[in-house]
Amino acid sequence: MLKATFRSFLAHKARMVLSALAILLSVAFVAGTLMFTDTISKTFHELSRTAAADVTVKPKSEFREDRLGRTGQQPTVPESTVAAMRTVPGVADAHPDVTVTNVIVVDGKGKKVGLTSDPQVQAADWFPNKQSPVELGKGRAPQGPNEVVLDSDAADHNKVKIGDRVHVVAAPGAFDPTVVGLADYKTINPGVTLLFLDGTAARDRLLGKPGVVTSVSLTAQSGVDQKELKARVAAKLGTGFDIKTREEEADAASADLGQALNVIKYALLGFAGVSLLVGTFLIFNTFSMLVAQRTRELGLLRAIGASRADVNRSVLLEALLLAVVGSTLGLLGGLALGQGLLTLMRTVGVDLKGTPLEIKPATPIIAYTVGVLVTVVAAYLPARRAALVSPMAALREAGAPPAKSLRKRAIGGTVVTVLGAIALAVGASATKLDPAHGLALAGGLIGTLVGFIVLGPVLARLVIPWLAGTFPRLFGTVGRLSRENALRNPRRTGATAAALMIGVALVASLSVVATSMKDSVGKQIDQRLGADFTLQSSGGLNFAPEVAETVRKVPGVANVVRQRETEAKVLFDGSTETISVTGADPGIDAMMKQKYTAGNAADGLAAGRIALPESYVKNRRLGVGGTVTLRTPNGKSAELRVGAVIDDEGIGLGNSGAGMVGLDTLSKLVPELLDSVVMANTADGSKSSQVRAALDTALKPFPQVQLRDQADYKQTVQDQTNLILQMVYGLLGLAIIIAILGVVNTLALSVIERTREIGLLRAIGMSRVQLRRMIRLESAVIAVFGAVLGLALGVGWGVSAQRMLASQGLDVLTIPWLTIAEVVIGAGVVGLLAALLPALRASRMNVLAAISTE
């Protein structure tokens, strides 16, 4: 029996090629994703480890460091503590570091220096040692306040040479130093542009305050344990410091990256999952058809004494062989994909400089498990059907088994679909976002999907005659034959179309949600954004008061409203919560139309008052007139009366959950805060385009400022949505490719199955051209059928999701009819293309050989 199985597998290997390809693609995607993310996280962890000192001392803050960096409040350590650290036994050396990430470097042509359009720059004091990620390549170390060293990758990219001057914008102000040296990354370039100043210059230029540094790096004397040293330093310094050993520092540094990487990993694996699901249908169809074609052979096996279990096992074993072959090739494909992704990282500035792919032992195990599981599950039903073949089948005429009634399927499928639709409707009726409605929506998605898959064959009988209704009139007998062929085996047509349906449904639903989001945001911007011009910072670098002054002086500008932001703790009734707080000039109401559930903007922004978000006061016994304590990161605090409550329920898009105070109130607490947003309106009678041009000119010296008018603002949001959508389409492309392979597979196997019929048609005078057309039309109608089902399902999902999210600000429903029309036409074209090879093969058949096939 085992020998028979192997022989059978080899004999039918050509028919399994596409199934193997489907497994290959899905497994390659899974394996490639794992290898890629493992490589990145290992490399970066290594990098952080080598770059970390034995023990690092940083300031401790109750706020997240990255958030603080963004508001321009760099936490620091007093330099005086360095001397104290040197006295700790076991410390060989203590080096005060200055490292900031909110810096912009501009070259002589006005372009930002870095590997990408919005480069990440890290500026630090020049202190080459064995932990430093770079070493001096050309030139010399920076000396004095007007010299810097750049990393050579960024310098090469911007063609900056030694001796050139660059414009550097840092938090304390801008300066124009000369590049005196270029530093080379020792191992890999993680996509960060590096700028170095000498120690004193770094303190002045980057921090603007004397006597403080951002961290202290301690080197242990040989033989001193890092943990022990950490404990000694902690004992010496007391609280208020964040002390980490090398390992802890490396872990902390890669934790953020790990989170971002996990998002990418699970997104990619999610798409791989969709591909696997789609591939399941392909494999299922292949095995169903193989079993049907081999009915006589299986009957013979049964007649000569094979048990049902033997036959069942034989088919499953064939599936296992297929899975092993497909998964092995998939692993190899994963290697290529992983390497390709690493290469792709170079476009975002991350150069791993030939780091080999990291292959964890789990990767091949997962790859094989996934490949085998999917294949065997897909082959399970066909295997069971094979076992049901009676020994009598050996004696009967070969051919498809009598078609079972679709009645049970119709009833079951309708029930599941209706239940799913009800769940979708329940989810869609949500007036606020809560887990119950989310669950209903998810259940509805699954229910309708399963229902449609079950109903597929029934729908094929209903929809295909209609889709192909004009075929006989347009293409004569050839058209009629292709319509009949598509309907001949509704189960097969249903399963083939289902694969395409899943991909199309996902694309359709996402595009409904995305276009709705685009239009909702557009509507919100129209309703809420009163400012004609918005200036925002880029690179987390806020701008000095002179920017607002400059804008105010531009002719045609009427009002200017500044905003400053910080993170802060709100203390009330024993509870402490972190919120972000905006300090704004009085005219904010005209620029950002916010709704208030109590009070108004003037009440909230008055001296000694605060406007708190509804989401904060909701569950507290707090309202207008109540008092809270606001504590800012620098440790200062103030008692503020609640002057207004901001309606942030359901706005979703925008700064939900943020409080607001007067600009003066905030500046008194945190004097060093700079402007993060400046909004401006044009005066009546002045032309917007002229004001824009004048603003552009006036803001030239401030590269950290991004100027947007309302149209730009909308465009920015739309570009973001489009980018996400394109990535999603690209990834779903894999699922659609596999679905197309499924169409090719079904057609190719159908052609084999109908060899005699094709021979007959050719014998009685059908030309090759007509035969090819017949197969192409059949393919097109199956593909369009799948696309139509997918669109119906996807639009249903999309609309339900939009209704559910309407309370979250997604209140405009837009159905992208153009995209939908494109998908239907595209499906037809794809169907025609999918039929190319099977049609060619059919038309090349030897007529005589075809007729006499068994």
């Binding site: 004569g476 009949e484 309907l487 007959l760 014998a763 009685i764 005078g765 030309s767 007509q770 007729i851």
Partner: protein, 278 residues
């Protein structure tokens, strides 16, 4: 005038106008359609394999198939009778020699021309799997004309359908018809387009004797009453007895022929061959 044409019943309508097809084969057989044979071959040779494994299936066969006659080709298994039919019908390529349908030489024709020739001039009845399962009986009957984009002649179609006795079965699919009925649909399809010649490859091989007799009787009446030309390959002496002429093949050569055969004389001849070769 051949005897076949004389027997054509006067009720028959003249052949429907074919679409003008300026093909080589059409032009040649235009002027002397009435003359000559329906199909013929000269020194037709068909070999399989190369070198030591070379098998000669047909060895310089010369045959003439008369118009309006029912010819049976008989011979033991491996005698080359099916190969001869396939080569005469243009389904199989030949190693050397020539064959004609009417006055059109088909050896050397391209696939496109051969396909059109089969569609327009030849009818086929195979042993099994003659019908498309997705089409009804009537649709199967008119299929060659539908493929050609030609309207069937309704009067002729009626005649054919009545002759095969399928009027009440026209809407049925092949799976709803008995084996005999399916073969009669195949016969009707072969006749419906008024081909110059019909080739049958063991058309009754899969039928019980009663259904077989029905089909054979029908084939014979289509020759005698409708003036059709039929060539049938069979190994059954009883089936051969329905023909006007039997060609006997052995080892790829025509070894004998018999006119006005009966089952007994054919059987006797076959037995003589068997003795001679054993």
């Amino acid at each position: 005038m051949s005897p076949g044409n004389r027997r054509r019943p006067p009720t028959t309508t003249p052949p429907a106008n074919r679409l003008a097809e300026p093909d080589a084969y059409e032009r040649i057989d235009h002027d002397d359609r009435a003359k000559g044979s329906a199909a013929s071959s000269r020194a037709l040779t068909k070999c399989y394999g190369e070198g030591e494994t070379r098998v000669v299936a047909l060895d310089e066969v010369d045959v003439e198939i008369g118009r309006g006659r029912f010819t049976a080709i008989m011979g033991p298994s491996g005698s080359g009778k099916s190969t001869l039919m396939h080569c005469l019908a243009g389904l199989d390529s030949v190693t050397s020699g020539h064959s004609w349908i009417g006055d059109t030489e088909i050896t050397g024709l391209k696939d496109k021309d051969l396909t059109r020739l089969r569609r327009d001039k030849i009818g086929f009845i195979f042993q099994a799997f003659n019908l498309l399962p997705t089409l009804t009986a009537l649709e199967n009957i008119t299929l060659p004309m539908d493929i050609a984009g030609v309207k069937p002649d309704p009067a002729w179609l009626d005649t054919v359908i009545d002759t095969v006795g399928l009027r009440d079965r026209l809407k049925h699919r092949p799976s709803e018809l008995s084996g005999g009925q399916q073969q009669r649909v195949a016969c009707a399809r072969a006749l419906a387009s008024k081909p110059q010649i019909i080739f049958g490859d063991e058309p009754t091989g899969n039928l019980d004797s009663r259904s077989g007799a029905e089909v054979l009787g029908f084939l014979r009446s289509s020759v005698y009453d409708l003036g059709q030309t039929i060539v049938m390959v069979t190994h059954d002496p009883n089936a051969a007895s329905y023909a006007d002429r039997v060609l006997f093949l052995a080892d790829g050569r025509v070894v004998d022929e018999m006119l006005s055969p009966t089952a007994d004389t054919v059987l006797a001849r076959m037995q003589r061959f068997a003795r001679a070769t054993s």
